[in-house]
């Protein structure tokens, strides 16, 4: 079966007790056992629950993995992966990654005796160079954030395999619709389900998908031991979201492509970051590893100081000023002030986050409507 058909049907078998076309939402925290000893499908909801399993089943199928494990948030999923590391181990990660992941690696793991190196993962040689004897994990974001840099998954997989290192891909921005890292040699995929998977800005969630059943078993063991599981209502909403995932991601990507090309032609735009553009540095790798689009995120730099950029993001009427991404409604944000405002200005500029950098998460609205919106906001950049 094709991707979308699986997205609608896997884990959603009609309920045997009633025939309900959508499986019931099981809110139970505990399950009555047939006998004190012996097998039972479910015993306690932290270990497993039918509604969470339905979501895990569909995610394992969509990502082509052996097992999926669903969490309370993307960060809970990320944290669980890092629990596979022991004191003395070394983690290599990218520079253009989600700030919250960086905070976990740099501020939390380091206190547990795990060392962390950040390199530009778009440069495969730099990744190779960063690997040491103690390196146990390579963490990449195939599409970076906020600069949308593109990391070669297959290239990193080769390095990881040779070095006996687990390759983990945070595939939140590409989703399994555009790219399936497990098929390219990654060991584990992480998604913040808060974003495209849920898709409606109305839940927090995370999910890990493991290629190897043994890795999957370890992740589930760790989840059960540490407890940050996804709840039943979120699991239901995620299953519901996944049913339209392919339609949404294709439509949002097509609109993003159109807006990126349009932005390139605007006088007040200095530079556009979008891997779908021919002249984007990530274009060649993106073409190789993404199929059906290049994602819904577009970043661009306006020719203005931070005040001008702020006037822009405060003037849009459809794009709403908020962090997060991936949902049906379009969002706009100013990384220098919002998502990366805590960085020192020099550190920010060093990685390319200038004061005029604006990040869009393109939703499902009509492309023309969004273009008009950006167009009218463009005229508000200058103060007068």
């Amino acid at each position: 079966m094709q991707f979308r058909t699986r997205a609608i049907h896997i884990g959603q078998e009609a309920d045997p007790s009633s025939g309900a076309v959508v499986p019931p939402i099981h809110l139970a925290s505990t399950f009555v056992l047939p006998a004190a000893e012996g097998p039972a499908d479910y015993d306690y909801a932290r270990t497993g629950s039918p509604t969470r399993h339905a979501f895990e089943a569909v995610m394992a199928s969509l990502d082509g993995g052996a097992r999926a494990v669903a969490f309370a948030s993307g960060m809970a999923a990320t944290h669980c992966v890092t629990m596979l590391l022991k004191p003395g181990d070394h983690l290599v990660t990218g520079t253009d990654i989600y700030g919250g992941s960086w905070r976990l690696f740099n501020d939390v793991l380091s206190q547990r005796g795990i060392s962390v190196s950040a390199v530009d993962t778009t440069d495969v040689a730099a990744v190779q160079h960063a690997i040491r004897a103690e390196t146990k994990m390579l963490w990449i974001e195939p599409t970076g954030n906020p600069l949308l840099s593109v990391t070669d998954i297959a290239g990193c997989a080769e390095i990881a395999k040779a070095a006996g290192v687990l390759l983990v891909a945070d595939n939140t921005l590409a989703t399994p619709v555009l790219c399936r890292p497990l098929e390219m040699g990654a060991d584990i995929v992480m998604h913040s389900a808060t974003k495209f998977i849920g898709g409606h800005s109305d839940l927090l969630g995370g999910v890990l998908v493991a290629r190897d059943p043994e890795v999957g078993r370890k992740l589930h063991w760790m989840q059960n031991a540490t407890g940050a599981v996804m709840g039943p209502l979120e699991s239901f909403l995620c299953c519901r979201g996944v049913k339209t995932l392919e339609l949404r991601v294709h439509a949002q990507s097509a609109t993003a492509m159109r807006l990126a090309s349009w932005l390139q032609k605007q006088q007040s735009v200095k530079r556009v970051y979008y891997p779908g553009l021919e002249d984007d540095p990530g274009s060649a790798t993106a073409k190789k590893q993404y199929h059906g689009g290049y994602g819904a995120m577009v970043s661009f730099e306006v020719d203005a100081d931070v005040n001008g950029a702020q006037r822009f993001v405060e003037s849009t009427k459809l794009f709403q000023l908020a962090v997060s991404l991936g949902a049906v409604e379009s969002l706009i944000e100013l990384p220098a002030v919002m998502s990366h405002g805590a960085y020192a200005p020099e550190a920010r500029r060093a990685v390319g986050i200038t004061d005029g950098l604006i990040r869009l998460s393109v939703g499902l609205e009509g492309a023309e409507d969004l273009e008009h919106d950006l167009s009218q906001a463009m005229t508000k950049i200058s103060a007068s």
């Binding site: 991707f3 049907h9 076309v21 409606h200 909403l237 949404r248 949902a327 049906v328 409507d369």
Partner: protein, 408 residues
């Protein structure tokens, strides 16, 4: 202590500065700044709404200041859905109900009196007609029906007592397409109210209010909710004509619930996207079936040989996900064998959700009727109704194709 958020939605920010169908699906009816600054509308799981003091109650009663009072009269989340539905259908207002039938009953109970008459096109949803024939008649309301799309017969059936003329478009399962402008004109000329049950077309494909119809009814259980996981209904039209409907709903009580209303709002956000896919799948499956040797005939408004193809093409953006077809030389068991052999569509009533459904109307809806009655309803034994979901069309076609072989 954390201060409670006092931010109230600003109704002036509900105007969407754009008109694309997908833009309206996502944003219409919603305040740009919502309570608590949430990006999504909160679910107000409240049965009642409190007042700070007696004076506030008096102000509410005297000035009719818009605010909530008790859950049966309204809920903030429900109002968002109503405004979204109204915007999608280019109506002034919409009233949400617990189901499509509750909406139908709610509308008629508010607008017909003893002695009035109602005229239907005969392919309307059988429960709607049953309600009028068996139940409204108990209150002295007359019922007539004429052949679907026979506009002259409709005009001829109207008497001075006629209050309403009613049709569905497209009809189910025959998929006859009504010329809604002509239907509206008959109503206007004769001074009777017009209602189109637009469940099967949705505002994405047709907006009957723009053609002059007075009321549009939707079983939102179908495409509008879109995920086969809720029941809901709505009537959309002018505020003036819907005021009594809203008031009576508060008395009869067939309201939806805050949780359901939220799921409906969430479903509506992908309406345009889903409909585009339902339309494409319906067309592809219909074309496949039309070319298949085991299929005697296909009813789909998007096929050139459909009796209403011309009006459908002229008035509809797309033709929906429902496809009706007849197996060649098959009795009811042979037809059932095909239904039992499909792997992707589930066997069951209803339509409009992301998952495809399939059924044999003779079994599912007309089992308890005599063969003569079935003939009268034009429900032959070899008729199959497939409600295409949003799966890949290639998968649905491969599945049907395999089912025809298995059922040999």
């Amino acid at each position: 202590m954390i201060e409670p958020t006092t931010i109230m939605p600003d109704p002036s920010t509900k105007k969407v500065p754009a008109s694309g169908p997908s833009t309206l699906s996502v944003h219409a009816g919603e305040a740009r700044v919502k309570p608590g600054f949430s990006i999504t509308d909160p679910i107000f799981a409240a049965s009642t709404f409190t007042f700070p003091n007696t004076q506030a109650i008096v102000d509410f009663l005297e000035q009719e200041e818009p605010r909530e009072e008790y859950g049966r009269y309204g809920n903030p989340g429900e109002r968002v859905v109503e405004e979204k539905l109204a915007a999608l259908d280019s109506g002034e207002a919409s009233v949400l109900f617990a189901s499509g039938m509750a909406a139908f009953v709610g509308l008629l109970m508010a607008h017909v009196d003893a002695g009035d008459e109602i005229v239907f096109f005969d392919e309307c949803y059988h429960r709607s007609r049953e309600f009028c024939r068996r139940h409204l008649s108990r209150f002295g309301v007359g019922f007539r029906q004429v052949r679907t799309c026979d506009y002259d017969a409709m005009e001829a059936a109207i008497t001075p007592k006629t209050k309403f003329i009613i049709s569905e478009s497209p009809t189910n399962p025959h998929l006859s397409v009504v010329d809604v402008a002509r239907f509206a004109e008959i109503g206007r000329r004769n001074g009777v109210l017009t209602l189109i049950d637009a469940t099967l077309c949705t505002p994405y494909n047709v907006k009957p209010l723009e053609a002059g119809v007075d009321f549009v009814l939707h079983s939102a259980t179908k495409y509008l909710g879109g995920h086969n996981d809720l029941l809901a209904g709505a009537v959309t039209g002018s505020a003036e004509l819907l005021d009594p409907v809203r008031n009576l709903r508060g008395i009869m009580g067939g309201v939806n619930s805050p949780h359901n209303a939220y799921l409906l709002e969430r479903g509506l956000k992908t309406l345009a996207l889903r409909m585009e896919r339902h339309n494409a799948n319906g067309q592809a499956v219909a074309e496949f079936l039309a070319g298949h040797s085991k299929v005697e005939r296909v009813l789909y408004p998007g096929l050139p040989d459909h009796p209403f193809h011309a009006i459908a093409k002229q008035t509809m953006r797309g033709f929906g996900g429902l496809v009706t077809f007849f197996l060649r030389d098959a009795d009811w068991q042979q037809t059932a064998a095909v239904i039992d052999a499909v792997q992707i569509p589930r066997i069951g009533p209803s339509l409009g959700g992301v998952e495809s459904l399939i059924e044999q109307p003779m079994v599912m809806s007309y089992w308890n009727y005599t063969p003569e009655e079935r003939a009268e309803f034009r429900i032959p034994d070899n008729m199959i109704r497939m409600a295409c979901g949003i799966e890949d069309a290639e998968d649905l076609i491969a599945d049907l194709s395999a089912a025809f072989e298995v059922a040999e």
